[in-house]
């Protein structure tokens, strides 16, 4: 576990750069994280997805899968691929400051 400085703030990150402390996230950090994954500007559409991820993670203790983001959050899957190109599941969770979806190994 290391400390990184993002948007002028010290935050805890893991070996892949994901935030490990839920409470350390804010929108200015998200804007910097988004740039890391090739998203120059976070629009209100991006932010709506990020907010759903964070709320769902908080109530269930687990990052929602793409399918859940679409069926429960009501976001169209193709739209998610436009907003977070090529790797939406990983990019959304990275920018939202929640763990990436994983298997058991």
């Amino acid at each position: 576990m290391t400390i990184a400085t993002i948007a002028g703030q010290n935050v805890h990150v893991n070996e892949e750069g994901f935030l490990t402390e839920f409470g350390e996230w804010n929108e200015s950090i998200a804007a910097e994280l988004a740039k890391d994954v090739g998203i120059d500007e976070l629009t209100s559409d991006h932010l709506a997805v990020l907010r759903f991820l964070r709320e769902d993670y908080q109530s269930n203790g687990e990052t929602p899968t793409l399918r859940r983001v679409s069926t429960v959050g009501g976001f169209d899957t193709k739209r998610l691929f436009q907003l977070f190109p090529k790797k939406p599941a990983k990019k959304m969770s990275y920018v939202a400051g929640v763990p990436k979806p994983v298997g058991c190994v």
């Binding site: 576990m1 290391t2 893991n14 070996e15 892949e16 269930n60 203790g61 687990e62 899968t65 793409l66 399918r67 859940r68 069926t71 429960v72 899957t77 193709k78 998610l80 691929f81 190109p85 090529k86 790797k87 939406p88 599941a89 990983k90 990436k100 979806p101 994983v102 298997g103 058991c104 190994v105």
Partner: protein, 413 residues
């Protein structure tokens, strides 16, 4: 007389009644198990059926043989749980009232959830191996396979036994080598995750296994449909992966009768406290095994270790006392890697699979996160232990809580 009702007589349902019956006073507690038929399937055995290692009779025995004396077995299909009224309605009209309810109805593959799966190629060039019929049909297809693109595909997490698709790819590689046609087969492993291995230590230790075997990996693949005519799987971002033989793992969902009960999430998994299995909505409802929404692998090992903890807790709960034991998410599993070898993983909610020795620190005999013949032998021995030890509620000499002793911690950053 109080009534404990258990829905599902599979691994979790059978193990829990075997544990609880001798521990609950028979004058005070009546126990009933409901299941739809008299076939208990050893589901880990499905993996070996397509390669002829196991046959149907290795994977199926009579369910009633494993339900202990003093527990009533009712054959029927639940139609509806009514937790406000403490009762379950069966499809045949029976109504079963309960004081405490355990839901252990598992999870099942839903090929109908992905467009095109049940089309003209179903069970011809489009297969699955998470049912006995599916595994048997796949055996025929593999026997007839003379070369081409063999694609192993996972629709979406969570799935039952999350390493099984990887094992199938390893076993297929070994099988085609043995038949001398490996050079005619292109093996592709397709996952919705960002890699075949997603945990850093496991990825570092095991990443080479796929490259060594010449298995190509396609990541972040979110399937939209199967194009049976073109024989390709198509993703939402319009990637197409052609196949000659597809082994897909369809979306997994909990039992349909749970939908609308107020107990479950969008995939019909019962929302529970991850340390006790108690419903987050009704204190006299529990879920064990794959039916629960625990944030860990859906696997027999998870059920087994969590039931050890649950048994202690339920004896307190039955007397109106607070439950003082907490399940830590411990699970372990043998992973077949082909050619008579296997791997062993041991982990919990907070600790990813690490290298080392298990169960005795420094000694083993099993090696964690590395290939060995003994790990393969362990997997085959497990079938015996399942039928004779686990389902009978007897103890394996392994503690329920995960131990860090014997594990090697290494820096991952």
């Amino acid at each position: 007389m109080k009534h404990l009702l258990v829905l599902g007589g599979g691994s979790a349902g059978t193990m829990v009644v075997a544990k609880l019956r001798p521990r609950l006073d028979p004058d005070e507690w009546r126990i009933t198990v409901v299941d739809q038929d008299d076939e208990h399937h050893y589901q880990p055995g499905y993996l070996f059926i397509p390669f002829g290692t196991y046959r149907r009779e290795d994977a199926v025995k009579r369910r009633s043989r494993f339900i202990p004396d003093g527990v009533e077995l009712v054959f029927g299909k639940p139609a509806k749980v009514e937790p406000e009224a403490n009762r379950v309605r069966l499809e045949d009209g029976q109504v079963l009232a309960y004081d405490q309810l355990i839901i252990a109805t598992g999870t099942s593959p839903r090929p109908e959830e992905t467009e095109g799966t049940l089309g003209s190629e179903w069970r011809k060039s489009v297969h699955e191996f998470y049912t006995l019929e599916g595994a048997l049909a796949l055996k025929g297809a593999i026997d007839r396979f003379e070369g081409g693109r063999f694609v192993v595909h996972i629709t979406e997490m969570p799935i039952k036994c999350p390493v099984a698709p990887l094992e199938l790819a390893f076993l297929a590689d070994a099988h085609f080598r043995e038949r001398g046609i490996r050079d005619l087969v292109e093996l592709v492993y397709v996952t919705p995750l960002d890699g075949a291995f997603t945990k850093p230590v496991a990825a570092a230790h095991l990443g080479h296994l796929l490259a060594e075997r010449g298995i190509a990996v396609e990541t972040d693949f979110m399937i939209e449909r199967i194009d049976a005519e073109a024989k390709a799987i198509v993703s939402y971002d319009e990637r197409e992966i052609p196949f000659d033989l597809l082994v897909t793992v369809p979306l997994n969902k909990g039992a349909d009768f749970l939908a609308g009960s107020g107990l479950v999430d969008h995939l019909n998994y019962v929302q529970v406290d991850k340390h006790t299995g108690q419903s987050r909505h009704y204190p006299n409802v529990f879920a064990l095994g794959d039916a629960a929404d625990l944030p860990t692998s859906k696997a027999g090992a998870t059920a087994h270790y969590s039931i050890d903890v649950f048994t202690e807790n339920f004896q307190q709960h039955a007397r109106g006392l607070p439950m003082t034991h907490a399940y830590d998410g411990h699970a372990n599993c043998f992973v077949e890697s082909g050619n008579g070898k296997g791997l062993l993983l041991d982990f919990n909610y907070d600790t990813q699979p690490l290298p080392g020795r298990y169960p005795l620190p420094g000694v083993g005999p099993f090696a964690l996160l590395e290939e060995s013949e003994l790990n393969h032998a362990g997997k085959l021995m497990f079938k015996w232990a399942y039928w004779h030890v686990l389902l009978r509620g007897r103890e394996l000499p392994l503690p329920a809580d995960m131990s860090m002793a014997g594990k090697v911690l290494e820096a991952t950053s």
